[in-house]
């Protein structure tokens, strides 16, 4: 084709076929996408909540414990999270840590959810932290002067 000239009928025809094909593919795909979107959204909206916290895999009882911790710990204060020890994740970037504490060698998915559910109360590894949340772990002997609220067996909030 020469530059600046009108496209030939062949080019016009090919372009028209391509445009029509693109529209056809788009129209074929779109209803499925919209349907999937509606279904996904409906399922996601139906998630229960305890307080402001959605009830995900941990279930309503554990979520209620998280809601209690949120009420008990003032925003801005750090919380030391203790969970059951698991095998160290191959995705763990930290070189060292105390297993079971602040996300090290625990279920990382659960840990990240706990951190988010307690948002504005940052996670800390500090053994002297004022607040320690035992999530699925029985606390050992409490330090002198510490108080504990036992929500359920293994679900305890300790305040120093």
């Amino acid at each position: 084709m020469r530059a600046g000239r009108r496209p030939s009928p062949l080019v016009v025809g090919l372009a028209a076929v391509i445009l029509a094909g693109a529209v056809a593919i788009g129209l074929a795909r779109l209803p499925g996408e919209l349907s999937d979107q509606s279904r996904t959204a409906a399922a996601a909206r139906s998630v229960q909540r305890v307080g402001s916290i959605p009830v995900l895999a941990p279930g309503p009882r554990r979520t209620a414990f998280l809601a209690y911790v949120r009420r008990a710990v003032p925003p801005g204060e750090s919380v030391r999270i203790v969970q059951p020890v698991t095998a160290l994740s191959p995705l763990e970037p930290r070189r060292a840590g105390r297993p079971g504490v602040c996300g090290y060698s625990v279920s990382r998915t659960t840990y990240y959810w706990l951190v988010y559910a307690l948002e504005s109360r940052p996670s800390t590894c500090d053994p002297d932290a004022r607040w320690t949340m035992y999530y699925g772990v029985r606390p050992g002997p409490l330090p002198a002067g510490a108080g504990a609220h036992r929500f359920a067996d293994g679900y305890v909030l300790v305040r120093r």
């Binding site: 084709m1 000239r5 080019v11 391509i18 693109a22 529209v23 593919i25 788009g26 779109l30 979107q37």
Partner: protein, 520 residues
């Protein structure tokens, strides 16, 4: 949200030197203002956070955005500003005012699509709580920290002991959600969902309007349909409070704007307004997600390659996009927040040698999980190839090369990212399952940019093929070299050529060509 939009409008007013609705048209002005507002909010939030100030709206952010919004009210021609062209908008090449009705139809379709999709996504998603891992582990955790803790609290953003994920990720998306939280008075998932819906709506409005200018309203309508139906974009991504929609929107818009900059006949229109938009969209891509840095760098590099005559402007726009993100880059470096993709471990020679055999596996995995990688995707890719040939024959080699480079290079970067971050060699039993898991949960969203560009390429190139280029863009690179060196690019060994075309306004128009190339 209104303040974000108005601040974006003010930023475009300052950067383009024109009133946005005059420079781009109303639909583009609104859509681009949203993107500019998100980018400027992200950049400002990052800056005040890095400086140790509060990331809540008061006392810094809201007044700064309000000032920027007021800048949008500046008179059309402040003192010292060059006079505006006497007629027509800057998005129109000279003498193309007759195309306004076509732009109008395309713009109205784009606006309608954007509004409908934004409204639908907002209604569907507003009641959805944060529930996906990346939502709570990365993006919304950081958003809530910005709004509730009021700054870059080192316990969350710096200290690595507590195992917060990907602390090096940029802050534009959390900044937007955090901003809305602050106005709501508490963490607000619905507000964040509405922001995602608006971003998606703005993408459709901007993409539709830009495609109209590039390839005509029919191609734009087809492209818009393909864009909105890219698998998982609506069905999943639009419902998640993550950065994938944002980085895709910014990067896709950036690519389209650069296409406009390099495509005839727009090359003869003033470039500053579009380069200003390119800078804003590039900044947004870099500030949204780590991949955005690669996407923006690739788009600008491709633009530099093909934007002969406008390379300085493209380079300045790219530099401005990077400069807007320098505070976060400096903060990350200062606090040793290394990238999980490119770090001493993943880039060591030993690791790369060990994981290189995964390349074929990763490539197959990406193809299997490619957004729209089914038979329809293969058809679209084939159609894009045919249409690209037609477009090149019509003189539009620049946009074809630019799209091809962006698709190929972004795909290559994503592939390299998966290979480099493999846990170990194929002999390690854990490495395979981890890699497959990573591919399964990320390819469909991180590959949105190349997938959408490949899909939209078919109608875009077909539309370009119907608009033969005239003038500079129609020249081969060799002819352009001749032109720059002062020789007649159309010269054919002293033989008068039937293919000679006029380049209006250039040294080779009908009044200045020599007898060797006089137009018939």
């Amino acid at each position: 949200m209104a303040l974000v939009l108005l601040a974006g409008h003010g930023l475009l007013r300052l950067a383009s030197g024109r009133r946005p609705h005059r420079a781009y048209g109303v639909v583009l002005a609104v859509g681009l203002s949203w993107f500019a507002g998100v980018a400027v909010l992200g950049a400002l939030t990052t800056l005040v956070g890095v400086l140790g100030l509060t990331t809540r709206p008061l006392p810094v952010l809201a007044p700064a955005l309000a000032l920027l919004a007021l800048a949008g009210l500046l008179p059309a021609r402040p003192v010292g500003e060059h006079a505006a062209p006497p007629a027509g908008r800057l998005d129109e090449p000279p003498g193309h005012a007759a195309r306004r009705p076509a732009y109008l139809v395309g713009d109205l379709v784009a606006a309608a699509a954007g509004l409908l999709v934004a409204a639908r996504v907002a209604v569907l998603s507003a009641g959805i709580p944060v529930s996906a891992n990346d939502e709570y582990a990365l993006w919304m955790l950081r958003a809530r920290s910005l709004s509730q803790l009021g700054g870059l609290d080192p316990r969350v953003f710096v200290d690595g002991a507590a195992g917060y994920q990907h602390q090096e990720y940029p802050l534009f998306v959390p900044a937007l959600a955090g901003w809305l939280d602050s106005w709501a008075g508490r963490p607000s998932d619905p507000a964040a969902h509405v922001a995602v819906a608006l971003t998606l709506g703005a993408l459709l409005a901007v993409a539709g309007a830009l495609l109209t200018r590039l390839a005509g309203p029919a191609a734009a309508a087809a492209g818009l349909l393909l864009l909105v139906s890219v698998p998982t974009l609506l069905a999943l991504q639009s419902l998640r409070l993550m950065a994938d929609v944002a980085v895709f929107s910014f990067a896709f818009g950036l690519t389209l704007v650069l296409l406009l900059v390099v495509t005839e006949p727009h090359r003869r229109a003033p470039a500053r307004p579009w380069l200003a938009v390119a800078a804003v969209l590039g900044a947004g891509a870099v500030g949204s997600k780590s991949e955005g840095l690669a996407f923006a760098a690739i788009a600008f590099a491709a633009g530099l390659l093909v934007a002969t005559g406008r390379r300085r402007g493209v380079a300045v726009a790219g530099a401005a996009a990077l400069a807007a993100n320098l505070p976060w880059i400096a903060f990350s470096r200062a606090h040793h927040l290394s990238s999980w993709v490119a770090n001493q471990d993943t880039l060591s020679a030993g690791h790369l040698r060990a994981v290189l055999p995964w390349t074929g596996h990763v490539a197959r995995g990406m193809v299997d999980r490619w957004p729209g990688g089914s038979w329809a995707g293969a058809l679209l890719a084939a159609a894009a190839l045919i249409a690209a040939v037609l477009a090149v024959r019509a003189g539009h080699w620049r946009p074809v090369v630019l799209v091809a480079l962006v698709v190929a290079a972004t795909t290559a970067v994503l592939l390299a990212q998966y290979v480099a971050t493999a846990y170990g060699p194929p002999s390690d039993p854990r490495a395979g399952s981890l890699l497959d898991s990573q591919l399964a949960v990320t390819v469909f969203r991180v590959a949105l940019l190349p997938a959408a560009l490949l899909a939209v390429g078919a109608p875009l190139f077909a539309g370009l093929a119907l608009r033969p280029a005239a003038g500079y863009a129609a020249l081969t690179p060799c002819q352009q070299t001749n032109m720059k060196s002062g020789r007649n690019p159309y010269r054919r060994d002293s033989v008068e050529s039937e293919t000679t075309v006029q380049v209006s306004g250039s040294a080779w128009d009908s009044t200045s060509t020599s007898s060797q190339s006089s137009p018939p």
